[in-house]
């Protein structure tokens, strides 16, 4: 019997060795005979309790086994949970996407849809004059191609009518999510029945060749129309605007957002001035396909709304921005935001107001120009709030254009620019009024004070100093009453005006902008695809930064001006005095405190319920 035992460290080394057991012959032989080393070796691998646990747990493996069909169901739902972060490249930011879209303008399509390449998707035709066949549709030829795929002219044998068939591009068809969304959006769009929306006859979402069958509209897109004929006249613009807004309203009512309103997606029937919107919601389908394969998606960023480049959850007002862009194009023959590179375009969409369309087309009535500018407001809240509101306004205007003598001119739309001008005028008027009034009150109150010391503040516009409790009304001296009456007076005036709102508004805008800059910069820089594309991108980022900075500066200057004005008024209207009555913490109250105090429901601060103010 061999009494020599292995050392622990030697045994441990054997544990780690992955080589086939045949190489361990010496140890093997030893272990066969040496119970001590057997145990030691096992102990070094894992303590006794581990061996027991492994035995008990793993012996239930057979019972624990989950049936294959359940596993399939579980992993299906796991796919929902785990998905894309691992499975596919992360979704590009819309800015990046649109930018790349433009730069690589449809390289993949150029190859896949070059004149005949697409024909392999067709089945052999049943009629010799036809190019091919897709199910029951005989294909006569290609109408066009776009980011989504190609549009074919077909003939439905069963129903005996000509149709347009949009076949999803192969790189999209191979992406399950894109394919599903394509079908889902098309189905949703098929539910919109409206004379200004191209009807969808059928949706087929098979894996190899998903397609949509639509009414064949013979005519042009507005893009071609304007390119050929130049800017349209006012009545044409208004008529088209009404129809597009009407179609959009019908879709919005069903919760469907188009997302890609642009001249190329509006078809105008030949010899009739009816226009029809096509490609509802389809832009969304392409969102699911990775940028690298798709090359060209929404095609042009020119009509994209600012929120489309930053917000995930869009509402129907994004379409209204694009509608504004569309009308701008009809009126001027050019896009509202232009830039050599898509980045520049998007940067302008986000930061710059468009050149007023009227500056480009002096024939354009100011009223229409204003409508367009209003639609192109950066903030959705500043635009028209619904497509039907746009339609309503345009209809009224068209009626006026046609019968100016009997129909009243609709009210002119306020653009932000004009609104601000008006507010400034208003503010300065209000400002001077306040100063005058304050001066007058001072005078009067001091005078009153001498004669009727106890009722002074009640007289002064019934502020709820009346409910302020016994000691404050008792202690009314001239200083206090001056203070109270004037501070009660200030908010009363401002509350109905835009003053405070304007200040808040500017604050909000600045912080929005800061946020947007923060959001857009990280997306712009780190992606290697973008950086590789050219040095110009860097230039553009710098441009973007400088423009944003300038914009920020302007805004903050304006903000400062407002603040100064407010301060000036506060200084003039309110001179805080040492003997001002009682705030609880003993600090000198300022105007804001009084505004807050004044706005409180009178019961909240009043100790004497019989004396609540009747002013509210």
């Amino acid at each position: 019997m061999n009494v020599k035992h292995y050392h622990d460290f030697e045994l441990s080394n054997f544990l780690l060795d992955d080589s086939p057991p045949a190489n361990d012959s010496a140890l093997q032989q030893h272990l066969e005979n040496c119970v001590v080393c057997q145990q030691q070796f096992a102990e070094l691998a894992a303590a006794e309790v581990w061996w027991t646990k492994a035995a008990t747990h793993l012996s239930t493996m057979e019972q624990a086994k989950i049936p294959a069909d359940i596993i399939a169901q579980l992993s299906n739902s796991a796919a929902i949970f785990v998905p894309s972060s691992l499975a596919r490249p992360s979704k590009p930011h819309p800015i990046q996407r649109a930018a790349l879209d433009c730069e690589n303008r449809r390289p993949s399509l150029a190859t896949s849809t070059s004149d005949t390449a697409w024909q392999h998707i067709l089945d052999p035709p049943t009629h010799p004059e036809m190019l091919g066949r897709i199910d029951q549709f005989e294909i006569e030829g290609k109408i066009g191609s776009g980011g989504m795929g190609i549009v074919l002219k077909g003939f439905d044998r069963n129903l005996n009518r000509a149709v347009a068939i949009k076949v999803l591009a192969p790189h999209l068809a191979s992406n399950g999510t894109a394919r599903q969304r394509f079908a889902r959006e098309a189905q949703a769009a098929a539910a919109v029945v409206h004379p200004n929306v191209v009807p969808i006859y059928a949706v087929k979402s098979c894996e190899t060749r998903p397609y949509i069958v639509m009414q064949l509209v013979s005519g042009h897109s507005l893009q071609t129309l304007v390119q050929e004929k130049g800017p349209l006249n006012v009545k044409e613009i208004v008529r088209i605007g009404i129809q597009v807004a009407d179609g959009l309203a019908a879709a919005h009512q069903q919760g469907l957002i188009h997302r890609d309103i642009k001249p190329a997606n509006i078809l105008i029937e030949q010899d009739v001035s009816r226009v029809m919107i096509t490609d509802f919601g389809l832009a969304r389908a392409t969102d699911d396909a990775g940028i690298t394969q798709s090359g060209w998606i929404t095609g042009t960023p020119h009509y994209m709304s600012p929120e489309q480049s930053s917000v995930e959850n869009l509402d129907c007002r994004t379409d209204l921005f694009s509608l504004g862009g569309l009308l701008y194009f009809l009126a001027t023959g050019r896009e509202p935001f232009r830039g050599e590179k898509p980045f520049a375009v998007i940067q302008k969409i986000i930061t710059e107001p468009p050149i007023s369309p009227r500056e480009l087309n002096s024939d354009l009535p100011a009223m229409i120009s204003d409508v367009i500018e209003r639609l192109l407001e950066k903030k959705p809240d500043d635009r028209f709030q619904s497509a039907s509101a746009v339609r309503q306004w345009l209809e009224n205007y068209l009626a006026y254009l046609q019968q100016p003598m009997s129909v009243p001119r609709p009210q002119r739309v306020l653009t932000r620019r004009r609104r601000r001008n008006r507010n400034w005028k208003l503010t300065s008027i209000v400002g001077s009024a306040v100063m005058l009034a304050t001066a007058a009150i001072w005078f009067r109150v001091s005078a009153l004070n001498v004669e009727y010391p106890n009722s002074a503040s009640v007289l002064a516009f019934g502020s709820n100093s009346a409910g302020r409790g016994p000691e404050s009304s008792n202690s009314l001296n001239s200083g206090a009453s001056e203070f109270e009456s004037s501070s009660a007076f200030l908010p009363g005036l401002f509350e109905d005006e835009t003053y405070f709102r304007e200040v808040e508004d500017l604050d909000r805008q600045i912080s929005n902008l800061e946020q947007r800059v923060q959001e857009s910069v990280p997306f712009a820089i780190p992606n290697p695809v973008v950086i590789e594309s050219s040095d110009q991108v860097f230039g553009e980022i710098q441009d973007l930064q400088s423009i944003t900075t300038r914009w920020l500066e302007e805004e903050s200057l304006e903000h400062d001006r407002l603040q100064r004005l407010l301060d000036a008024q506060r200084d003039q209207g309110i001179q805080p005095e040492d003997d001002v009555p009682d705030t609880s913490d003993g600090q000198t109250p300022n105007a804001a405190d009084f505004v807050a105090e004044w706005r409180k429901p009178s019961g909240a601060s009043s100790e004497d319920p019989t004396r609540t103010s009747g002013f509210e």
């Binding site: 093997q28 066969e32 070094l44 624990a64 989950i66 359940i70 691992l86």
Partner: protein
């Protein structure tokens, strides 16, 4: 299904960090069968058990929104496994008609709940341990020659004698001894690694995560 579709984007958004995404995938790998098995053990039909599994995962995935990658609060795995544990124990208690810690507890409550100690929690912990062993064995199995794995499996799990297994596998008994211990060492290491990654104590996690590639006694 609406739950699922709303969960998705936020999850994608939250799991930007590749480590977290991997952690989530592993979590699903382990917890789906775990929850399903627990549900079955408690007498649910397949369909109901699937639903329960689904619901637990949906609720946990919602919690992902609240995940705050603060090193002091432990790992992402620790966080989600804690939530899953509390959720399942809540379900079990509800099923046993026992006072719940709150079936509708908010995520915050779920995570802040003191780990309960009761029949249900013991049952859960045992099932959890079993699941981790099962999961780890699947992994380890693939890292060894089939005969090495079999040597471990037949002697340790099926409790056959070393001589018999040696004869079956045409190996010497000594080779069987070596093989089974190697597998055991690797199994232990895999289980420990997972357990420490789930540990709520961040120091434990960091101590184990990098270093136990090899089991140094």
């Amino acid at each position: 299904m609406s739950d699922l579709s709303t969960t998705r984007p936020s999850l994608i958004l939250r799991l930007r960090h590749p480590d977290d995404a991997t952690a989530w995938q592993e979590f699903v790998e382990i917890y789906q069968p775990l929850v399903f098995r627990i549900a079955k053990a408690k007498g649910l039909q397949n369909a109901d058990a699937l639903d329960m599994t689904q619901e637990v995962l949906v609720r946990v995935s919602r919690a992902v929104n609240e995940w705050d990658p603060d090193p002091d609060r432990g790992t992402f795995r620790g966080w989600i496994s804690q939530i899953a544990r509390n959720l399942v124990i809540d379900y079990l208690r509800a099923k046993n008609n026992r006072p719940q810690t709150g079936n509708d507890s908010t995520i915050r409550q779920l995570i802040e709940q003191v780990p309960v100690d009761c029949a249900e929690s013991q049952f859960y912990d045992l099932e959890h341990e079993r699941q981790v062993f099962l999961w780890a064995s699947e992994r380890v199995k693939n890292q060894f020659q089939p005969s090495t794995w079999e040597a471990f499996w037949r002697t340790s799990v099926q409790q056959h004698s070393v001589e018999r297994v040696a004869a079956e596998l045409l190996l010497t008994p000594g080779a069987i001894y070596i093989a089974r211990s190697r597998v055991m060492a690797r199994l232990k290491q895999t289980v420990l690694q997972f357990a420490s990654s789930e540990s709520h104590d961040p120091t434990v996690a960091s101590r184990h995560s990098g270093s136990i590639n090899r089991n140094k006694p």
